[in-house]
């Protein structure tokens, strides 16, 4: 461990939360051979130790999106230090590191931290330059930073950062630091290694469930499969007789926590996970199942089908007069698409470790929104936030599952009850049965076109179980529709309608929320329109987007725009790299889909073949083009795209949560399937559009266009149009 001495606080920066302080020299030695060194903090994100190791604090939870690489790159770039001399640590949750900005959500990290983290590096670089200039008694302009040294332009002298750090930290912090020009970037826009790779490969990386603290118990909770059920009576005698079981008690939520989704249950605490699991099995609980036993996905199907059969309850957007066109045009098409509830299933089931003491608390969290959890726990434990330390462990996948506070609330309840350190966890069965799912939805689309093949009207009716239905005073469609998404503004008559299907089944955000359903409906229907027009699906899309670049306001609140040119660019690049017009064997086909999510543009071309006699689909290749503005880590962009393709294939092929009598039928990986090696495409080619726009995220944007690209390819291969996901055995037709 690096000792943490000589902490020097000097000032605060205008960006808020950063404060300065530092230390030392860059020796050409591998990281693991270095002994402990003195550490000087330059600011919240950055300190340098006597051995020249630059320690960078990553503020955002690492759920596999590669943020522990991409954000530290920003500091390292501006500081002008070799990547191999970087050590990344995980920042605790707190205002110092951005507070609510410390979230793995909305593909936001690079958009939020792009400037402040570069500024953190640049400010430290400037201080080191000023310190060197003082040592050499030369003007600051005669010095420059490179590779962990400040160099003197007029002779060959140089000083390591270590030798300068202490002096630098005593200087007044400069207010107008210049950031590097993109043409001077040495790290940004390249691929760098994952700073955590060694720990992952040797098993020493600490995930939430790997946290071990002294005197720690384990706990988990038995709950009813029916949401809203309450415990009538329970018998804990058999559970308490199991060796290692320490305590059994009921956990209820009576408005003391104003949060949805928590289920009443009986908690089992024990000295090992195994004791807790056995204890849970031995419990005898009599439930009052409540009103939700009437819930079923079968009735939701009927309800939503009916709802999209009539005018929607809410008008989301209305340009021109769609209905007039639909009533008078002879060129028209309609189709209805369905997306089921799906679960997140991160590889690591949710967990939270809490050490609650009388006047303070320490937490090891796996939350995607740790600062929100910190504030909740502060209220619940009646402790000021300064008395709570919330660490973030490495996290075994997110996908939106860890945006919900349910498991943290349960952990807090247990910790308060037992008053000793506890690791609270869910099993895989809990994970699938008690998840808050991606909303269930039906989409009926209708469109007309003129004799030149130009789209003249577009109607999109959606009915579903919006996740916003749980929020007071918010229109439920807000989370399920993006009114300015294409083809909005590309046709004079455009209308979106929404009807809420009432359901108490829990639902929440999943990777690219809203978009992942919309993309399937919109990009499948666009494909259908192309075929109805005897057009090539790529050409049809390009014609729809027209010549030149048009930018339309997308999210007025955030000031974002959606560009026709950037969308065309990814479509064309993906098509070109995939060999779009090449001749394929019989029963093979290519499908294309392009989509805009969180300011990034992604197009995929899927190449598949379908053996119709056996209903066997083979996904041969995905060729992808992404535009996320300025790329930080090229390898990271590719990894996120590859991963999103696999995720999208899993959802398209198998994934569906079904409900009967209020209970989720699926409960583990044997009946809720995830794509495996044999079904994964053997080729994934990711191409990046380099255009100099500001950087945007990549955790989510590649996901929405996967399902439509796949299903469009299936249609091209065999003429079967998939309108309901998952595909399951829809290809078996003989």
């Amino acid at each position: 461990m690096i000792g943490r001495r000589d902490f020097i606080k000097t000032s605060t920066l205008a960006t808020g939360g950063l404060f300065l302080g530092v230390n030392l020299s860059c020796k050409e030695k591998p990281l693991e051979q270095l002994g402990p060194g003195e550490l000087h903090d330059f600011n919240a994100y950055l300190s340098i130790d006597t051995n020249g190791i630059v320690q960078i604090a990553n503020p955002v939870p690492e759920i596999g999106q590669g943020v522990r690489t991409s954000l530290p790159m920003l500091v390292a770039e501006e500081l002008s230090v070799d990547w191999k001399n970087i050590k990344v640590i995980q920042a605790d949750a707190g205002m110092r590191y951005g507070g609510y900005d410390q979230r793995a959500a909305g593909s936001n990290s690079v958009r939020i931290y792009w400037k402040p983290m570069r500024l953190a590096g640049a400010t430290a670089r400037e201080l080191l330059i000023m310190a060197a200039a003082n040592v050499w008694e030369i003007p600051r302009e005669n010095c420059f930073a490179s590779g962990g040294f400040i160099h003197n332009k007029s002779d060959k002298r140089s000083l390591g950062y270590g030798a300068l750090a202490e002096k630098a930290a005593l200087l007044e912090v400069p207010q107008n630091v210049e950031l590097k020009k993109p043409s001077d970037f040495k790290l940004i826009g390249k691929s760098v290694s994952n700073p955590d790779i060694k720990g992952i490969l040797n098993g020493s990386a600490v995930f939430g469930q790997d946290v071990r603290i002294p005197n720690m118990s384990y706990a988990s909770m038995e709950k009813s499969e029916v949401y809203g059920a309450t415990v009538k009576t329970f018998d804990s005698s058999a559970a308490l007789a199991i060796p290692g079981v320490q305590k059994v008690f009921k956990v209820a939520f009576h408005g003391d926590i104003e949060r949805p989704f928590c289920r009443e249950g009986v908690a089992v605490v024990g000295d090992s996970v195994w004791a807790v699991l056995k204890g849970r099995k031995a419990l005898k609980i009599e439930w009052d199942l409540g009103v939700n036993i009437k819930e079923s996905t079968e009735s939701l199907h009927q309800n939503c089908e009916n709802l999209v059969g009539r005018k929607g309850d809410s008008e989301v957007k209305n340009d021109g007069d769609v209905y007039k066109l639909l009533n008078t045009s002879s060129n028209k098409l309609e189709a209805t698409y369905h997306l089921p509830f799906i679960a997140h299933v991160p590889m690591e089931t949710v967990d939270c470790t809490i050490d609650l003491r009388d006047d303070s608390c320490e937490i090891w969290s796996t939350s995607q929104v740790p600062f929100a959890d910190l504030n909740f726990l502060s209220r619940f434990f009646e402790l000021p936030t300064e008395k709570i330390t919330l660490h973030l462990t490495r996290i075994g996948g997110g996908f939106g599952r860890r945006l919900g506070p349910d498991y943290t609330i349960e952990a807090a309840k247990v910790a308060k009850e037992i008053k000793k350190p506890v690791q609270y966890f869910w099993t895989r069965e809990d994970d699938i049965q008690f998840d808050a799912y991606r909303p269930f939805s039906y989409h009926k689309l209708m469109a007309t076109w003129n004799d030149n093949g130009q789209l003249t009207s577009w109607l999109h009716r959606q009915a579903g179980t919006s996740r916003y239905a749980f929020r007071p005073n918010v229109e439920p469609y807000i989370s399920e529709f993006f009114p300015n998404h294409f083809p909005a503004n590309l046709t004079p008559n455009f209308r979106q309608e929404y009807s809420l299907a009432v359901s108490n089944i829990n639902r929440s955000l999943i990777r690219a929320p809203g978009n992942n359903s919309l993309a399937f409906a919109v990009e499948s229907f666009t494909d259908e329109l192309a075929y109805a027009n005897n057009s090539d699906p790529l050409e049809f899309r390009l014609n729809l987007l027209r010549d030149g670049n048009k930018e339309f306001p997308f999210d007025v609140e955030e000031g974002t725009v959606i560009s026709t040119q950037r969308m065309k660019d990814v479509l064309q690049l993906a098509a070109e790299k995939a060999g779009w017009s090449k001749k394929l064997p019989n029963s093979s086909g290519m499908g294309i889909a392009g989509y805009f999510t969180f300011d990034s543009y992604v197009a995929h071309v899927a190449e598949v073949s379908v053996d119709r006699h056996n209903g066997i689909l083979t996904v041969h290749r995905f060729t992808s083009a992404v535009d996320c503005g300025q790329v930080l880590n090229v390898d990271g962009v590719k990894a996120q795209t590859e991963g999103a393709i696999i995720d999208g294939l899993s959802a398209s092929l198998f994934q569906e949560v079904t409900i009967f009598e209020g209970k989720t039928n699926e409960n583990n990986f044997n009946n809720y399937m995830v794509l495996r090696m044999k079904d994964a495409p053997k080729a994934i080619d990711v191409h990046i559009v380099d255009n100099g726009y500001p950087p945007t995220g990549m955790g989510e944007p590649p996901y929405p266009p996967v399902a439509p690209a796949l299903c469009n390819a299936i249609y091209a291969a065999c003429g079967i149009r998939i309108r309901k996901l998952p595909i399951k055995n829809q290809l078996k037709t003989f």
Binding site: V206, S272, V273, L277, M347, F399, M677
Partner: protein, 149 residues
């Protein structure tokens, strides 16, 4: 409860546990060898894969009482110069990393028994391991890279 002697990563351990306690929980609860992960508890995901006398097994489904003097190897017991580990690093396979110990144990066992597996053999060997981040494409590439090492 009963005393069991087990051999893990060439080291002898004595644990006092129930006879039906799965190896996974002996590793994690008793020995703090937390590199081996829980993913499903029913042998479907492979996150808990370890070697039993060189054969990859799901440690969530095997009781300690059945181990006898078998030789267990976990992720912590692999030599750092193992070609699979080298290739995994070179190709930069992991994303969240949670499933990777299990994936690596399956891949190491595959190459121990088959110097140059074809795609089909890779599919069979790796099909018991789920990666939710979707690193299959890179894992296949890494296995082929390791073959060349």
């Amino acid at each position: 409860m009963a005393l069991f002697q087990i051999l893990i990563n060439n080291q002898k351990y004595e644990v006092d546990v129930e006879a039906n306690k799965p190896l996974l929980w002996v590793l994690r609860d008793e020995l703090s060898l937390t590199g081996t992960k829980y993913g499903c508890g029913i042998g479907q995901c492979g996150a808990c894969t370890v070697h039993l006398n060189g054969t990859p097994i799901r440690s969530c489904g095997i009781s300690i009482s059945t181990l006898g003097d078998s030789k267990i190897t976990t992720i912590e017991g692999l030599k750092s110069d193992n070609p699979i580990l080298k290739a995994w690093e070179e190709i930069n396979v992991p994303q969240c990393g949670y499933c990777q110990a299990g994936q690596i144990m399956s891949a190491v066992a595959l190459l121990n028994n088959n110097e140059n597996p074809n795609d089909k053999e890779i599919d069979v060997a790796m099909n018991g391991n789920i990666c939710r981040c979707g690193t299959y494409y890179r894992m296949r590439k890494a296995i082929k890279t390791a073959v060349k090492k």
